[in-house]
């Protein structure tokens, strides 16, 4: 019996070791193993909290008011405009005498909100379309994929720029809609690829044979199996969306005039003089973009590893 007991013990040990660690625990363990990702995560949370809380405290109208007397004041200088007497500009001012620090906070909030909205909405569309294509396969898949192929071959950046110049009543919402219009297909294609493999698995076939409704199979059986990929993709795309928005704003086709954005702050650097001598105008925004995107990417990669057992560090 002793042998048997030993065998049992071995078996139960094996059970404990092979039971896959699930969900949040894996992620937490992954972050603990990767200090860079952990630091990034903390930094990211701090930045997001600061930006969102602080930007609601300051008054956007005051920040965007043009002051002819205050243009290009270096950091920490006092306002020279009688209207703003006693104001100190922590990060200096831009050409129109607007407070860079205020612009930075509000701009970061706008850029982040826009980037997140675009990512979430386009991912949602992408997931729906991708899973539909994968589940029904055949002709449905074919039609959807040809449409996606068609959108993919178009020069998207150019088309976005043209759209932003021709839509009447251009505002934040139309801009977001245009971005979503041209970013869902990448997600759809990606999700479809993963969902296809899941859809071929036996338990799906079994479910189908048992007569489970298609909707339930898609939502309850296929989606949870690719959920980790969705989360990873969401994170990485977030960085991409921020980049796209700031890039467009940099070119002058982004958020409407008068809406502060990180991209508009960076675009001041197109002028060689500002690039060289007035770094306070563009450097904070550029640094913030760099830090944000790097943080998101490190966090995203940690999540990615957590989602794939082969790559895990812990």
């Amino acid at each position: 019996m002793a042998t048997n007991q030993d065998a049992d013990a071995v078996v139960s040990d094996d059970m404990a070791a092979s039971a896959p660690p699930m969900g949040i625990k894996v992620i937490a363990r992954e972050f603990m193993r990767d200090k860079l990702a952990l630091v990034s995560l903390i930094l990211l949370i701090v930045i997001l909290a600061t930006v969102f809380i602080w930007s609601f405290i300051i008054d956007q109208d005051v920040v965007t008011t043009v002051s002819l007397w205050d243009s290009y004041l270096p950091p920490m200088s006092m306002s020279e405009d009688p209207m703003f007497e006693g104001t100190r500009y922590i990060l200096g001012t831009d050409s129109a005498g607007r407070d860079i620090f205020g612009l930075l906070l509000i701009g970061a909030r706008n850029s982040l909100t826009l980037g997140w909205t675009v990512t979430v909405v386009s991912s949602a569309i992408g997931i729906v379309v991708g899973i539909l294509a994968a589940y029904y396969a055949g002709i449905v898949d074919n039609v959807i994929m040809r449409i996606i192929d068609f959108i993919m071959i178009m020069p998207q950046l150019m088309i976005i720029i043209i759209f932003t110049t021709i839509v009447p009543n251009y505002n934040v919402f139309t801009f977001a809609a245009i971005l979503i219009l041209f970013s869902w297909h990448g997600q759809a294609r990606f999700i479809r690829g993963r969902a296809l493999t899941v859809g071929r698995l036996d338990f799906i076939s079994a479910s189908k044979t048992m007569g489970t409704p298609s909707l339930i199979i898609m939502l309850r059986e296929m989606m949870p199996n690719i959920s980790s990929l969705i989360i990873v993709n969401l994170t990485l795309n977030f960085a991409g969306s921020i980049g796209l928005e700031t890039g467009l704003s940099y070119l002058g086709f982004g958020l409407p005039t008068g809406t502060p954005s990180l991209g508009t702050l960076v675009s001041y650097a197109t002028n060689p003089d500002i690039l060289e001598n007035k770094a306070w105008v563009w450097l904070p925004a550029s640094t913030l973009i760099l830090v944000l995107v790097l943080c998101i990417n490190y966090v995203g990669r940690a999540l990615q590893r957590a989602a794939d057992a082969k790559q895990r560090l812990g």
Partner: protein, 634 residues
């Protein structure tokens, strides 16, 4: 998606972005489009083309308007020949149509200036004198203009410039197949021109080639503005012997215009890289004497790198330096900045009516000519509202803060360059928000619902749509500043479609009287004729505000009548009109501008004074010389 793939995608996006930045600027920033009006009477100018000079001291501790010299002389022995390099600062590449009759954009005019030659010269008041390649005479009695070409004026291929070449220039524009934009009322004024244009006549009846050198042109009527350069006489010649074989419809694309153009100027074209550079070589048989330089190399420089190019002393002369960066190149060693008043001003226009096309009866005869129709119910039709808006903005501060004093508040729609006609003592609309509030209160624009925004006297909400151009570093802050200033006096002004508009689409919409536009910010190049009829007359398509009143008609008529050959009387009428205009205020003239030309210290002499004798050193291109092999850097 692997990370490697992700990054390579990012990299290619960045590459596209830079490329786009380059062409984006091209469209918006430096475009100066010349439009319709035949001779250079008026053109739409892009926002940051030039700047302003100033006699008027601004208040307080503001930056004083900057004064410039118009002539520089550097001491030293002239070197033999040499190559002068010119940096033409522009973001819109020149199209390369080397023909006065066919070009449309200002960049073409600039590159053409070195080789095409000046037929009619002008003095400091921009009046035609005999300093060009031909003499000019206007006979009021017979309504004729006589031009006589001086001896020894040769085309670059050695053929003499003949009277029939001037006739040929008219024939190109008047040709039924003509593709360009120069045909205008001024040319239709020539006897027989319309018949020729319609294809009813084989030649223009009013143009007589008297002999090889003399031409007589008969007009239906002559006005005093025709004495002005660009005032209605087409004073250019086209080489008949060179271009005659080409159908007029194909001229614009012909290699004789695009690749191997000829003129009678001091330099001839050696090589053209379209949109980028032109090299010129000296034309030894130039009628004022062989040029001292061997070559001129002209290259285009984007606005964003102009200052860097100047720091590296890449060019001897910079044309069209951006004025909003003046403080960056103010003191670059090795260069002297010359400046003149630009023939342009910026303004804010109020849409007050619309353009009505000509009405014809069944036979196609014109019953009612095309004209501006004033609408007294327009949103901006109340003169008090317009005046209040003018008082609410501080253009003195805009000029001194955004343009470092290179622009200043305009007080009249006539620019100071036309010193005889400019009403210097008009006060205009200095910054006075209290006065603005007072006017609005009196006129009944009051805030009735307590939201801090004024309603119309009828109690309706008042939202004014403002159209403005993108381009230049300061376009956006200035527009923001204006809107915020108006808000401070309780007027709600919103940007049309929530954004700034690209140069061409902006003017397309303004020209088409887009009902969504209530006010717009534009700029006029005035050309060298002070007569404002082309911009504010009842029948002027360029009168974008569509403002037309009988009193204005009367004054316009007086300014262009034959009685105006009496200059003093005419100047009086000009001043009367300016007073009337500034009171009615269909546009707020906002800024006068100054254009800066940095010149390297190795250029012996350079002079941009208007109307200076071309034989004076530094004025005519043939008199330019260098005093060193290398560009000065200190």
């Amino acid at each position: 998606m692997s990370n490697k793939k992700r990054y390579s995608m990012l990299a290619s996006t960045a590459a596209v972005a830079f490329l786009l930045a380059a062409c984006g600027n091209g469209d918006t920033e430096d475009t100066t489009e010349e439009t319709g009006n035949g001779t250079d009477t008026s053109e739409e100018v892009e926002e940051d083309a030039g700047e302003d000079s100033g006699e008027e001291a601004s208040s307080g501790d503001e930056v004083e308007p900057v004064e410039f010299d118009t002539r520089v002389e550097n001491e030293g022995e002239a070197i033999d020949g040499g190559t002068l390099s010119v940096g033409y600062v522009t973001d819109s590449p020149f199209t390369g149509i080397f023909s006065t009759e066919l070009y449309t954009g200002n960049p073409d005019a600039v590159v053409m200036g070195y080789m095409i030659g000046t037929l009619l010269g002008s003095d400091e008041n921009y009046q035609i004198d005999d300093s060009g390649a031909a003499t000019f005479e206007l006979d009021q009695e017979t309504n004729t203009v006589t031009m006589t070409i001086k001896d020894d004026v040769l085309w670059h291929d050695g053929e003499p410039v003949k009277a029939s070449d001037i006739a040929f220039a008219h024939e190109i524009i008047g040709h039924p197949d003509y593709t360009g934009v120069r045909y205008s009322g001024d040319l239709a004024n020539i006897v027989g021109m319309e018949a020729f244009k319609n294809g009813e006549a084989d030649s223009i009846e009013g143009i007589t080639v008297v002999d090889d050198k003399t031409i007589e042109i008969e007009y239906q009527s002559v006005g005093v503005q025709m004495l002005q350069a660009g005032g209605g006489v087409w004073g250019y010649a086209a080489p008949r012997h060179y271009l005659e074989g080409i159908p007029v419809a194909e001229l614009e694309s012909a290699p004789e215009i695009r690749e191997n153009p000829i003129g009678f100027g001091p330099f001839k074209v050696d090589n053209i890289v379209p949109g980028e550079s032109v090299s010129y070589t000296a034309f030894e048989d130039y009628y004022l004497g062989a040029p001292k330089l061997d070559r001129i190399e002209l290259e285009t420089v984007p606005t964003s790198t102009a200052v860097a190019a100047m720091e590296n002393a890449q060019y001897d002369i910079f044309q069209g330096m951006p004025t909003d960066q003046y403080e960056n190149y103010e003191n670059i060693p090795g260069y002297t900045n010359l400046g003149v008043d630009d023939l342009a001003y910026t303004y804010i226009g109020f849409k007050l009516g619309e353009w009505q096309e000509a009405e014809t009866d069944e036979d196609g005869n014109i019953v009612e000519p095309a004209q501006n129709v004033y609408n007294e119910d327009a949103k901006m039709a109340d003169k008090n509202l317009r005046q209040a808006m003018a008082y609410a903005i501080d253009n003195d501060a805009v000029g001194s803060r955004f343009y470092q004093g290179l622009r200043r508040r305009a007080n009249s729609p006539i620019i100071p360059n036309f010193s005889d006609y400019y009403a210097e003592d008009l006060e205009g609309y200095p910054f006075d928000p209290d006065r603005a509030n007072e006017i609005l209160d009196e006129a009944g624009y009051e805030d009735t619902n307590g939201d801090g925004i004024r309603e119309t006297p009828e109690g309706e909400e008042l939202v004014i749509n403002f159209a403005s151009m993108s381009g230049g570093e300061v376009a956006e802050p200035i527009v923001e500043y204006y809107m915020q200033s108006w808000e401070r006096v309780g007027l709600k002004v919103e940007l049309l479609d929530g954004r700034l508009h690209e140069f061409n689409s902006f003017y397309d919409r303004v020209e088409a009287d887009d009902p969504d536009i209530d006010i717009y910010q534009g700029a006029w190049g005035t050309g060298s004729d002070p007569t404002p009829e082309g911009l504010y007359g009842r029948f002027a398509p360029f009168n974008y505000t569509r403002w037309a009143t009988e009193e204005n008609d009367e004054l316009m008529e007086a300014m262009t009548s034959t009685k105006g050959f009496d200059v003093e009387w005419r100047a009086e009428k000009f001043k009367e009109w300016q007073e009337y205009f500034m009171d009615e205020l269909p546009v707020i003239p906002t800024l006068f501008r100054k254009a800066v030309t940095p010149v390297n210290n190795r250029v012996g002499a350079y002079d941009i004074t208007p109307g200076e004798d071309p034989d004076t050193e530094g004025v005519g291109l043939h008199t330019l010389y260098l005093i060193s092999e290398d560009r000065a850097t200190e």
